[in-house]
Amino acid sequence: MLMNLFKFKGGVKPPTNKTQSLGRPIAQAPIPSRLVVPLHQSIGGTPRPVVQAGDKVLKGQLIGEADGWISAAVHAPTSGTVVDVAMHVQPHPSGLDALCVVIEPDGKDEWIPREPVDYKALTPEQVRERLQQAGVVGLGGAVFPTHGKLTASKTVPMEEMVINGAECEPFITCDDLLMRERAGEVVRGIGIFRDLLQPKRVLIGIEDNKPEAAAAMRAAVQAVGETFEVIQVPTLYPAGGAKQLIRVLTGKEVPAAKRSTDLGVQCFNVATAYTAWRAIAHGEPVVSRLVTVTGNVHEPRNYEVLIGTPMDELLKLATPHPDTDGIVMGGPMMGFLVPDPKVPVVKATNCLIAHSDRLFPPKAPEMPCIRCGACAQACPHELQPFEMYWFSRAKNFGKTQEYHIFDCIECGCCSFVCPSRIPLVQYFRFAKSEIWAREREKNAADQAKERFEFKQLREEREKAEKAEKLAKAAAAQAAKKAAEAAAAAASGDTPAEAPGPASADTAATPAAPSAADAEKAAKLATIQAAMERAKAQREAAQPKNTEQLTPEQQRAADEIEARRVAAKLVEPVASANPANEKAE
């Protein structure tokens, strides 16, 4: 299968360090003593917990319900007892806590009743719903809920579906082994995606340093009877970035502001396809994943690991060297040191690297930028990192946006090649988070301003309406007065001529004083009316406990009053409560 490959600019070739963990087949990691399963494991809404402490759960039982369309369910990774639903530290650089379901396994690993289905008998909506309920998310690292990517654009025909088996990050080999050992199920999973999206072509991209995986995939494609193309792409970090792989295989460049579907492409990771197949054809939700355990360890290897397994327990299986001083989750280019060795393995955990200074020597001190441009040449998005660095440092965030900071995918190529050892990506993350924070602040301020302005507007409108009402009443009063005056003054004349000011045709001279009089009268009337209204209001405002009385109470009160009058205790009142009578 010969095809033209495209190139993306930049990229780097760090030592791949993959052979260490490729020596042995995938092993099943034992069930740990305790599982801490975070509810928020995918992009989108945080699933709602549906279990509480004390509940017995089975393997695959729903413990977190998807919250909204872009959200994916979470399941118990093994059978056991929920001991807690509480905040625990997350495998995230921030070191923040999030809600987790803590399960004490019973060791039986007993499944819920699994319901394998033939997805071809289902409607596309049903398939997507099943994937969501099975917690299928992008396992390449971005953990975007997969069902959300399986609706074809209505306007742009789906041309290519790109399946990402590039695995460009050094050290990581879990996709490689998955393709070697479980290619058939990966291919079948791709088949589901293909049937939902109906692309013209399916392109499976694998870096050319994984010939075994590519061969296994080719064989599986043939065995399943599919027409997918398995394409070996040049090994060049970050060829496994979705946008880079799409570029290499299709020649299309997806800008930051667009979705790949706008260009008729969609991209999935091989492991995602595998879990999708397990979910549909075996009824198994995502409760485990393959994790490469490598780095400063005696026995690097790939494990099938239950989600929620504490990382330190997993790392022990590979016997870390004594000088291990931390755990990196992910690869050495984009990964991060976890804030606590006990943080759980999550769906995004593709690799754990035991960190030591021997493996990753401490960085030399940061030097000033010499504008050598090595970063710009390495940047796969063709940005000018040294300019963005300059403006990030100066906190001139507007300028960083002019230099397209939000197109940065934080792949780390720039930091990798920088001779001045500037942690460029850190600067860009800082700038981005500052920009986001400021935008949030600005939005909040804008909203407050909008609310305030609306309030002001409303008050002004009410004031105007009130004034209008008053003016109308006053005018009516004045007209009445003028009419009376006119009637009194000209008793012999026809009354039709009386309201002089009202008709414009009548002589201006007599009209003028009469208009002034009317105005004066109107003012006076207004004042009087206002005073009367105020008086009435005052009276109305006076609390009267006798207002809302039942007839019985009224009678009783009247009787008491009569007695008091009879006893000459008080002056007799004309009526106990005229207001009340009037009202009823």
Binding site: P14, P15, E253, V254, M333, E382, F386, Y403, G412, Q426
Partner: protein, 343 residues
């Protein structure tokens, strides 16, 4: 423990970059030493010491870490470029003044490493040729082979500066002859009859230029520099000199003569490629190199100075920020967008 990704780093550093630039200068220096004797090595040592001294003083004043910044090698590169552009038998204090000015004023007063808007070595050259035009124009006659001790004595001012030490550069001699001749002299005859001219350009100097060319190509191969600046510098100078030469070969020397004379090769590969003071975008580099090449030719042929590379580079340094601003490349995903950028 604060150690953000990437955890893997390429084996590279500023001092490695600078060291490789120095290594790339070696072929040119070797040819130079073969041509005029060991004096140039003495000048290199004087300039290096002066630069390190000035650097130390300036770092002390700013309370910057000495070992890190002294070992970055940037001061040495500046010093070497100064030594290689000054006359090889220039008095020691001239080289020291140039170097001090470069390090103290052109580099540190503008903020130090990475901040200087002008190429420090070219600032030094410009300052000295304006301030000491006579001394800066005295080049040793061809074939003058003084022993090392005599050369040191001349440099240190212990021996008199005799006439044989003060001829013009081949480039300068050509310009002067053509000017004084007012049309009676022609280039081919001058090249054929005067023994300061060799096969292509100045006798011997042409080989020094080829040494720089080799070093430059090595830097390109090592990816220390990109092809843009040297190609556009050489291309622009070739086009302009070639055009005039085709029109009037009697009054204008060939492109080959110009490329192998004076500081053209050093400028194209080592000076105009300075990333700090030059352009950084690909198109910007092309404009920068072409501008420097054109200006260098114009100044050396029509101007009053023996060579134009220093002024050409400084003038282009002035334009570099604007050129960069106007030549920002399209980024990934925006090439086919058609509508320019979204900002």
């Amino acid at each position: 423990m604060f150690a953000p990704a990437p955890f893997l780093l390429k084996d590279t550093s500023v001092s490695q970059v600078m060291t490789q630039v120095c290594i790339a200068l070696v072929p040119g220096i070797a040819a130079y030493a073969w041509l005029v004797g060991p004096a140039i090595l003495v000048q290199l040592v004087i300039a290096t010491l002066a630069a390190l001294l000035a650097e130390t003083a300036m770092l002390r004043i700013q309370k910057k870490p000495l070992t890190i910044f002294l070992s970055d090698g940037s001061a040495v590169v500046t010093a070497w470029l100064i030594a290689l552009t000054f006359p090889p038998l220039a008095p020691w204090w001239l080289v020291v003044i140039g170097t001090l000015f470069a390090i103290v004023v052109a580099k540190h007063l503008y903020g130090g490493l990475g901040q200087n808007p002008f190429n420090p070595a070219m600032v030094a050259f410009a300052v000295c040729i304006v301030s000491f035009p006579a001394l800066m124009s005295q080049w040793p006659s061809v074939g003058l082979q003084l022993p090392l001790l005599d050369q040191i004595n001349v440099i240190l001012g212990l021996a008199p500066r005799v006439d044989a030490l003060s001829s013009a550069t081949p480039l300068d001699a050509m310009k002067t002859a053509l000017k004084l001749g007012e049309g009676t002299q022609d280039v081919p005859a001058l090249l054929a009859n005067q023994d300061i001219y060799g096969n292509f350009a100045g006798r011997g100097w042409e080989w020094v230029a080829i040494g720089y060319l080799l070093g430059g190509l090595w830097m390109w191969q090592r990816k220390l520099i990109t092809w843009h600046v040297p190609v556009s510098f050489i291309g622009a100078m070739t086009l302009l000199s070639g055009g005039l030469w085709l029109v009037n070969p009697a009054q204008y020397a060939s492109p080959l003569f110009h490329l192998l004379s004076g500081g053209a090769m050093l400028g194209a590969f080592f000076i105009a490629t300075d990333p700090v003071s030059g352009c950084t975008t690909p198109r910007g580099k092309l404009i920068f190199g072409a501008g420097a090449g054109l200006l260098a030719y114009i100044i050396r042929v029509f101007g009053g100075y023996p060579d134009g590379v220093a002024f050409a580079v400084l003038l282009m340094n002035l334009c570099a920020p604007v050129i960069d601003l106007l030549t920002q490349p399209r980024i990934f995903g925006m090439k086919n967008a058609g509508k320019g950028d979204k900002a």
